[in-house]
Symmetry: C2
Subunit: 674 residues, 2 copies
């Protein structure tokens, strides 16, 4: 599944051009009364309340982002301030409100959705450049005006971008600690999460939390700046460090928290009563001492940090996941800033046990997906399956697998033209029927105690068009070319991701999203900072990433082929550097649709790779299917992993001419012997 952060600026432009949707709006706000689709939300009351609050705080504009105080990609309903204010429920966007205007910025994935969900109070800005927001504000707010925002909802980098956009313009960026949307949302705002925060059993963790803490402290000691503390704001960071999980955010087993890990103490800021007595005991077994976890209320994080920062300390933090609100209480000279905290980077490289856990989760996940593909093969021709039912079925199949804890994101189940929308998810009411006459794209994943999965398969049960077959094959070629690539250590993902595009580029095709993202051990399905984007860290052995090229044809069909792969050391003929070169080991274990592969486009190396991959699938998933007594699925797997003939055309020709000559010879010999 591909995350929102992928939509880089150039891709947006490109996608915008391709869809041409930049010029039309399903709303018509020029007529009186305006024409609005029935899906639009009336936001007049929300806006009036917010504007009153703005007047009280003397701000001429107020910026509302889509994220929460931890820069989470998925957020709780309680944090969906932008959704409540605008009606727009997409996962990425920014709203700005003045006394007489209101505008929403979002990327091309969400333009149509925004038009359908927003009323005429809102103008839609089809870009996500902060510079564009800045220019809008400069036009809407006269010099001398204040631009208000909640400093706890903006990362340091985003804050700086706004600051730069307004620099020298006479407008002031004004942090307001009371969130004005929350204030006017009032008691209609959903309550905070209250579920238990639990420990992950040792069988499912890579190492104890004490060992993880020790590893981070070692990094602190070895750093030339000798930081005295690490501040953790990302929810995954605290969850990973303490081997704790919660259910505060849909699909992501995390909980609201901060951690301040110093060289002598550990403070965990959390809703303490939600920790079970046994968890509290485990965290405080070594009290007092450097491995004693002091449990403090979530709301105390900032005040505690401010106090700590008054000492002779150096605080290490990752700028990508820390909000300006926390950052600003630390004096500049006491800061050690890196893009990502050392915990984020340690989590990204899975140790041997974590790798085994993730591999094992993918075997069971493959069973569920194979069951689903076989079920579709049988059911679709009967005309009884629609997208929503399909999504429900794969979710149920996963849930039946051992250690499953539900899907890792909302299942994408898209037939025909719906698959051309990269982020389409069906709903119960409006769901397209699956058919042997069109392509179907299923992008789904599971949360398992041992690992998080994410896989996309695109299939066609009938007769694909030549373009569909060519595009599918080229997407597959891209997936193979990147998966089999050998590359030097320390290579950045962005420098190799084009290998996933080359086969498409060759004939003038492309796709408008990124090529892969990290993934966790029972954590986020999009685990940063691993991946192929420009802000990802270099690839290293032990990292897991998805590899997911695609191709989308507006109004017609969509293709994506996604696997999760582990970065491993490669065995090369020569060894020119001290560290071995790297390559990928694909851990998703589901065969591709043979009906859509044009073998004549594949190189012998690509076919060899495919055959080797299929051998691995048989070896790893076959026994699990048998163990689960899924005999029909086992036969399906054998059928669908038959080796492909190597160099099909050449072999065919060679065989034919050999046969022809042999027959001549035989005739001759017969003649001779006669």
């Amino acid at each position: 599944m591909h995350p929102p952060q992928w939509i880089a600026a150039w891709v947006l432009l490109l996608h915008g051009c391709a869809t041409g949707s930049a010029t039309t709006d399903v709303r018509d706000c020029s007529v009186d009364p305006p024409y609005l689709p029935p899906t639009a939300t009336n936001t007049t009351a929300q806006l009036a309340a917010l504007r009153a609050a703005m007047r009280a705080h003397r701000v001429q504009a107020y910026i509302v982002p889509s994220t929460d105080a931890h820069m989470s990609e998925y957020i709780a309903e309680r944090d969906s301030r932008l959704g409540w204010l605008t009606g727009f429920t997409g996962s990425a966007g920014t709203g700005v409100v003045t006394q007489d205007k209101a505008a929403l910025w979002t990327d091309s994935r969400y333009w149509t959705q925004a038009e359908r969900q927003m009323d005429c109070n809102w103008e839609l800005q089809r870009t996500v450049w902060i510079q564009s927001i800045g220019l809008w504000i400069l036009e809407a707010v006269p010099a001398g005006g204040n631009i208000g925002l909640d400093p706890f909802l903006f990362s340091i980098d985003t804050w700086n971008s706004y600051s730069q956009a307004l620099h020298g313009s006479g407008r002031t960026l004004l942090p307001i600690e009371t969130n004005l949307v929350d204030q006017v949302w009032g008691d209609q705002r959903p309550p905070p999460a209250s579920g238990e925060i639990y420990s992950l059993p040792a069988a499912f963790t890579g190492s104890s939390w004490q060992d993880k803490v020790a590893g981070i402290r070692q990094q602190m000691e070895q750093h030339v700046r000798r930081p005295t503390a690490v501040l953790l704001s990302g929810l995954e960071e605290t969850a990973w460090l303490f081997n704790l999980r919660g259910d505060d955010i849909p699909y992501n087993p995390v909980f609201y928290s901060y951690t301040l890990l110093t060289n002598t103490s550990i403070s965990l800021f959390v809703d303490v009563p939600r920790l079970s007595p046994s968890v509290q005991q485990s965290l405080q077994a070594d009290c007092p001492g450097p491995l004693c976890v002091e449990l403090r209320e979530y709301g105390q994080a900032r005040a505690h940090l401010r106090r700590y920062a008054q000492g002779n300390v150096t605080i290490w933090l990752g700028t990508e996941y820390t909000t300006y609100g926390l950052y600003s209480v630390i004096p500049q000279e006491k800061l050690l800033e890196t893009s990502y905290s050392p915990v984020m980077l340690a989590k990204a490289v899975k140790n041997a046990k974590e790798q085994e856990l993730l591999r094992a989760a993918h075997v069971r996940d493959a069973v569920a997906v194979i069951q689903y593909l076989l079920w579709l093969e049988k059911m679709v021709p009967q005309g009884q399956v629609d997208e929503f039912l399909g999504a429900q079925h794969i979710d149920a199949l996963r849930r039946a697998q051992e250690h499953n804890r539900g899907p890792s994101f909302q299942s994408i189940s898209a037939s025909g033209l719906n698959a051309a929308l990269a982020h389409y998810s069906p709903s119960n009411g409006s769901s397209r029927k699956l058919s042997a006459d069109e392509m179907y794209l299923s992008d789904t994943g599971g949360q398992y105690l041992d690992g998080t999965t994410d896989i996309t398969r695109t299939v066609h049960w009938g007769a694909p068009t030549p373009l569909q077959k060519e595009a599918y094959t080229r997407v597959l070629m891209g997936n193979i070319d990147l998966s089999r690539l050998v590359f030097p250590p320390n290579t950045a993902g962005r420098t190799v991701e084009s290998f996933a595009r080359r086969a498409l580029w060759e004939v003038g095709l492309n796709y408008g999203h990124g090529t892969g993202h990290g993934i966790g051990n029972f954590l986020s399905v999009h685990e940063w900072p691993v991946g192929f984007q420009s802000n990802n860290v270099p690839l290293a052995a032990g990292m897991f990433t998805s590899i997911e090229p695609g191709y989308y044809r507006d109004g017609e069909f969509g293709i994506r082929i996604e696997d999760v792969a582990l970065v491993v050391e490669a065995k090369t003929k020569h060894q020119s550097e001290e560290k071995p070169f790297l390559t990928f080991e694909v851990v998703s274990l589901v065969p591709y649709d043979r009906n859509l592969i044009d073998l004549s486009l594949l190189s012998p190396e690509q076919i060899q790779y495919l055959n080797a991959y299929y051998k691995t699938i048989r070896a790893r998933v076959g026994p699990e299917l048998q163990r689960q007594q899924l005999e029909e699925e086992y036969s399906w797997l054998q059928r669908n992993t038959e080796p492909f003939p190597l160099d099909s055309t050449a072999t065919a020709t060679a065989t034919m001419s050999t046969v022809a000559l042999a027959s001549v010879l035989s005739t001759l010999l017969t003649g001779l012997q006669a």
Copy 2:
């Protein structure tokens, strides 16, 4: 030829590991007296003088960079302050001097050279991270100290990096407008250039300077910030804009200058008497008026800019080529900053006429290189050619070609192990003899009135080792794979440069430099911002770039295959976007060494590409060779551009088995007929 900017940090690390030279130093400063190679310069007097000047200015440290006030890559002797102070003559480095210490930072290409040229007054820091310089300063200078530097020798970005490295440390970065090195260098410093600054004949320009000015002014009008002026600091910018050339810097036909182009006036800051009367007349033909070029003294640039900046203006500048000294006189709110000025970007995209000019220069350049390769083929076996003689000979052959104005950089002529040093140039005294027993690398280029060229060929006249042949073939495969790549518009070079490495990576090999750089029309051989580095701009039709993968084996041999290529529109089977996809047209027209190509490694597509390229060489260079009555060279060209058999192994096998079967058949038939 590859430029210094290429050595990205990770490459440095990598190269450092590969050579292992990080731990040894040819100097031994631990004994008394120290052991120094005879090539070392005694810098005691220079340092004593500089330290006295530092005391007078109350700075505890002084930073000396290797560049000039225009961020030039090549500099005049007069600007070689670092060389004079340290003895080190490499093109990239930074020196820092305190009262009792002195250190030089440079990248791996220059470590050995620095050890050989510097005495024990200097420690060598084997990195170019500004952070590392900052940490050294923090150790060497106590809090409260001042760090002096000449603000006219640091780009805005570099200045900011230093500023950030010292931020909050209690040390102050102190701009001193009098350059302390110049002050102590005194009258020993070489005088300024005095040669004539001349107009390029209209036949060799893409458009008139008036048209170029109009184009830039149009961009100013269309920019949302409505800048009132563009400031040009890069020497190529002013030379290109006014179609003027000079000889202030070796190999680069530029002259010291600044330009302030406003919406109503044009100021050219230059040593006015060096402009001939006819040039002055042409620049002032439209005076008074918006196309009147006001000629002002070079030294007046800053004062004039400061005055201009007091008005109601917005000044557009490129941060990469503007020094902090100029930048700092413009109030922040009057600045429009982009990485590169609009002139830099306009220059990067060659119009149809400029493309034709560059193509034509490459045809004549190919003649010279072919003459050279043939000459080597005949002379080397006689044992009469050494590296220096070779370099002199290719320079002379180029000089004999029409419109030639000398080499575009110091010729690299490297035999055997010398070629493993990426930037080796032979000198008269110590030059290796060329031999049929080792590989030879020639990286050379010419300045022609119509264009600048740059080409590398690696050859072997005897029996290459299997590794040499494999490595050469894989370097060639990389060159081909990138040259034939089809990619979308707006693609950044860095996202595709790995295609030039894949064939090497596959077997664990790599190279430690960038893959290409822009090139000018009778301007710089390294013309930024085109290329494959992370700070290059996206590729666009009309840009020229070198493509130059390589492979280097320390102490043994070096391979590089470099061509210049034009970005052109591609004809693709499908067209999915509004703008056509792009590909390269190689304009360097010299065949590769057949003796070093292992055809069995090449794919059919690569062989097809090679054969098509060779056909182009024949069509374009053949007639020119005949026109110049170079019949022997013409035959050599025909021989060396014979098409390669497609799919050699398959064909070979097929042929063989057909032959074998035919012979069996014939035997049988004979028997039958007998």
